[in-house]
C-alpha cells in the first residue's frame, strides 16, 4: 500500500512539474552541431529570444559530424559546423531529400603557442610545422634544433587539439596537407583548457588550439607568428589577431565556420526570422564571444544566399579547403 502511495506521489509530482499531454512545438527553431560554433549560436539565440518573445530556439552540441547526422535525418532545422560539409554527409542529405543553404558566420583562428619562458623561438614557418607534425616525424623529430638549427638541443613537447575535433582536422589539412593525418605522439585533449594548462607549465612545449583560448590566457602563453612562405598575403611571419584573420593575411591557420539551414525549414517564419537575425547581429555578437567576424560584404552576400535560396556548398562538398577566401567564394556564387 505504501508502495502504491509512493508511486502515486511520484507520478503526481512528475505530472505537476512537467505538465501533461502533447503540445505543438511548431514555433521552435531546432539547432545542433559543432561545439566551436555553439557560443556564437547561443549568443544569437539569447538575443533573438529577447527580441522576439514567444519564439523558441534550442541548441545542442553533438559535434559537427553528429550534427550533420541529425540534420540529414530531418531532426534539426539548422546545423552548426566548424568545417564545410563532407561528401558523405552531402550524400546523406541528398538521399534524404534535405536541401541546405550554407552560410559562413565567422572566422576561427588557430594559434600556435609556446611557453613564455621559451626565449629562442620567435616565429615558425608552415614548412617547419609540417616537418614537426607530419606522421613521419613520429619518434624522429623530438628536439628543437631538429626544426631550426640555431634553436637549442633540447626536447620538444607537443600539445594539440583532440583528434575527433574539427580543429584537429583543419590543422592537419592546413599544415600536413592531409586531413586527419599527423604524428600520434603528442598530448591531446578535447578540452582546450587542458592544453592551456599543459603549455603554461612546460618550458619546452609547442601546441595549437583556438585563438579564443589564447586571448583568455595571454599572461600564461606566448604566441608564435606563422609564416606561410607566400608573400602575396603578407610578408614574413604573421601573428593571429582580429585584423590579420579578417584581412586574410594570417594564413593558413584561419578557417571559416558555418551554419547550415534546411531549405524547407526556411519557409517557417521563426526559422527565417532567426537566420536573418543571425546574419544581422553576427558582426557584433561574434566578437563578443571571442571569435572573428567576416567582412561586412560577406554577411551581405550570405543574406543574398538566403534571399535567393541558393543551396549547396561553396566548397563543392569536398570538406575543408585551406586559405579559402569566403568573400571571393560568395561573390562568385551570387553572380
Amino acid at each position: 500500500m505504501k508502495k502504491s502511495l509512493f508511486v502515486g506521489v511520484m507520478m503526481a509530482a512528475t505530472l505537476g512539474v512537467c505538465g501533461c499531454g502533447k503540445k505543438e512545438q511548431a514555433r521552435t527553431v531546432q539547432i545542433d552541431g559543432s561545439s566551436t560554433v555553439y557560443p556564437i549560436t547561443e549568443a544569437v539565440a539569447e538575443a533573438f529570444q529577447k527580441a522576439n518573445p514567444g519564439m523558441r530556439v534550442v541548441v545542442g552540441v553533438s559535434g559537427t559530424g553528429g550534427g550533420f547526422k541529425k540534420f540529414a535525418a530531418g531532426e534539426t532545422d539548422i546545423s552548426n559546423a566548424s568545417r564545410p560539409i563532407r561528401p558523405s554527409e552531402a550524400e546523406a542529405c541528398a538521399k534524404a531529400g534535405v536541401e541546405y543553404i550554407e552560410l559562413p558566420v565567422a572566422y576561427d583562428g588557430l594559434a600556435v603557442l609556446i611557453n613564455p619562458r621559451n626565449t629562442w623561438a620567435q616565429d615558425i614557418t608552415v614548412e617547419e610545422l609540417k616537418k614537426l607534425w607530419e606522421p613521419e616525424a613520429q619518434g624522429k623529430i623530438t628536439r628543437w634544433n631538429q626544426i631550426r638549427a640555431d634553436w637549442p638541443d633540447r626536447e620538444i613537447h607537443l600539445y594539440g587539439a583532440g583528434v575527433d575535433s574539427g580543429t584537429y582536422d583543419y590543422f592537419t589539412q592546413a599544415i600536413v596537407g592531409k586531413e586527419h593525418s599527423s604524428r600520434g605522439d603528442f598530448t591531446s585533449s578535447e578540452d582546450d583548457n587542458v592544453l592551456v594548462q599543459g603549455i603554461a607549465g612546460d618550458e619546452l612545449a609547442l601546441g595549437f588550439f583556438g585563438l579564443a583560448y589564447y586571448e583568455e590566457n595571454q599572461d600564461k602563453l606566448k604566441l608564435l607568428p606563422v609564416d606561410d612562405g607566400d608573400d602575396t598575403n603578407g610578408k614574413g611571419a604573421i601573428s593571429p589577431s582580429l585584423e590579420t584573420v579578417m584581412d586574410g593575411t594570417y594564413q593558413p591557420l584561419s578557417r571559416p565556420i558555418f551554419i547550415y539551414v534546411r531549405k524547407d525549414a526556411l519557409d517557417r517564419p521563426e526559422v527565417e526570422a532567426f537566420v536573418r537575425f543571425y546574419l544581422q547581429k553576427a558582426p557584433e555578437l561574434v566578437k563578443e564571444v571571442g571569435y572573428i567576424p567576416l567582412s561586412a560584404r560577406s554577411y551581405e552576400l550570405a543574406r543574398e544566399r538566403v534571399d535567393k535560396r541558393i543551396t549547396g556548398s561553396l566548397f563543392g562538398g569536398k570538406g575543408s579547403q585551406v586559405g579559402a577566401k569566403i568573400e571571393e567564394l560568395l561573390e562568385k556564387e551570387v553572380r
Binding site: 502533447k22 555553439y38 549560436t41 530556439v57 534550442v58 545542442g60 553533438s62 555578437l285
Partner: protein, 301 residues
C-alpha cells in the same frame, strides 16, 4: 632517520601468538588503522573536491544563479532549465524504472522456477549493469527517439535512463527480496494467505527499505549521466522550462560540461557552482535513501 626504530613500534608477530592477552591487540590495532585509512582516503578526496568546487564557485552560488536561463554573459547565466530538466528527468525515470524493475525482480524471486532459462536471464541482467552508458544512449536514439517517434524529448531521455537503471534496480530489489526469510513466507502460507497476499502484505513491505535504497542510489547515479543524454539529443541551450513530457530539455551535467570547456574563466566559475548544486542534489538523494531505510527498518524489526 633511525633504522632500528620501526622494529620497536611493531613487535614481531611470532611473539604475539604466544601472549594473547597483551600483545594480541596489536595486529588488530594495525588492521583497524588500515581500515580507518581506507575510509579516510576517499572521504578526504571528496572533501577536497567539494571544498575546491565550493571556493571556485562560491561567488556564483546565488538564488539568481538557480533561477536564470543560460546566457552569453557568464555573470548572468544560470542553471534553471538544467535544474528543472534534471528534476523532471529523475522523476520520469523513477516512474518508468521502478514498476518495471521491481516487477521483474518480484517475478524472478517469487514466481519463476529455478531453471536454465532464469539463470541465463540472471547472468544477462548482471552483464547489462556493466554496459557503458553511451551504448544505452545509442539504443535510446534508435528505439525511443526514432522508431517510437518520441523525438528529442524528456520522455525519450527518461526512457533511456530507465534502461540504464533497470539492471541496477532489478539486482538491488532481488537482493532485498532475498533478505526476507523463507520461514516468514511459509508462516504466511500456513495462515492461509495465497502468494499474492504474501507478497503484497509481507514480502514487499519487509524488503522495501532495501528496494528503496537501491532505487535511490541508482537514481543518484543517473542524475550525473551525460553521455547517453547527449547521444539521444539532449540540448545545451534551452531558454524555457519543459511544459510536457515531449518537451526538449537540458540537464545539469551537460550545462556544466559546456561551461568547463569555454575559454573564459568566468564560465569556469559557473561550472564550479553547477558542480556544487549537483553534489547537493546527490547528497539529498543519498540522505533520503538512508532516512527511508532507517524508517522502514524500525517498523519491521
Amino acid at each position: 632517520m633511525n633504522r632500528a626504530s620501526p622494529r620497536r613500534d611493531v613487535p614481531p608477530p611470532t611473539r604475539l601468538l604466544k601472549t594473547p592477552e597483551g600483545g594480541a591487540r596489536a595486529p588488530e590495532r594495525v588492521f583497524e588503522v588500515i581500515c580507518l585509512l581506507a575510509l579516510m582516503l576517499p572521504l578526504l578526496l571528496l572533501v577536497v573536491l567539494i571544498a575546491q568546487a565550493f571556493t571556485d564557485g562560491r561567488e556564483r552560488l546565488t538564488w539568481e544563479f538557480l533561477t536564470s536561463y543560460p546566457s552569453r554573459f557568464a555573470s548572468q547565466a544560470g542553471i534553471l532549465p538544467a535544474l528543472v530538466g534534471s528534476a523532471c528527468l529523475m522523476m520520469l525515470t523513477a516512474v518508468i524504472a521502478i514498476p518495471i524493475g521491481v516487477g521483474a525482480a518480484l517475478y524472478l524471486e517469487e514466481y519463476a522456477r529455478e531453471s536454465r532459462w532464469t539463470s541465463f536471464i540472471e547472468v544477462n541482467i548482471s552483464n547489462l549493469a556493466g554496459v557503458p552508458s553511451i551504448i544505452y544512449g545509442l539504443l535510446g536514439l534508435e528505439l525511443f527517439v526514432r522508431a517510437m517517434r518520441m523525438g528529442r524529448s524528456l520522455l525519450a531521455g527518461a526512457a533511456t535512463l530507465s534502461l540504464l537503471l533497470l539492471p541496477m534496480v532489478i539486482m538491488a530489489s532481488r537482493e532485498a527480496l532475498r533478505t526476507v526469510p523463507q520461514s516468514t513466507r511459509e508462516a504466511c502460507y500456513a495462515l492461509g494467505a495465497d502468494r499474492w497476499q504474501t507478497i503484497r502484505r509481507v514480502v514487499l513491505p519487509m524488503s522495501l527499505p532495501g528496494i528503496l535504497t537501491g532505487i535511490i542510489l541508482s537514481l543518484a547515479r543517473a542524475i550525473g549521466e551525460t553521455a547517453p543524454l547527449i547521444t539521444i539529443g539532449a540540448l545545451t541551450y534551452v531558454a524555457f522550462l519543459p511544459d510536457s513530457v515531449y518537451s526538449p530539455f537540458t540537464a545539469l551535467p551537460i550545462q556544466i560540461f559546456n561551461w568547463i570547456s569555454r575559454p573564459q574563466t568566468d564560465f569556469h566559475v559557473n561550472a564550479a557552482a553547477g558542480i556544487v548544486v549537483l553534489l547537493a542534489i546527490m547528497l539529498v538523494f543519498n540522505g533520503a535513501a538512508i532516512w527511508l531505510r532507517s524508517r522502514f527498518q524500525r517498523r519491521f524489526s
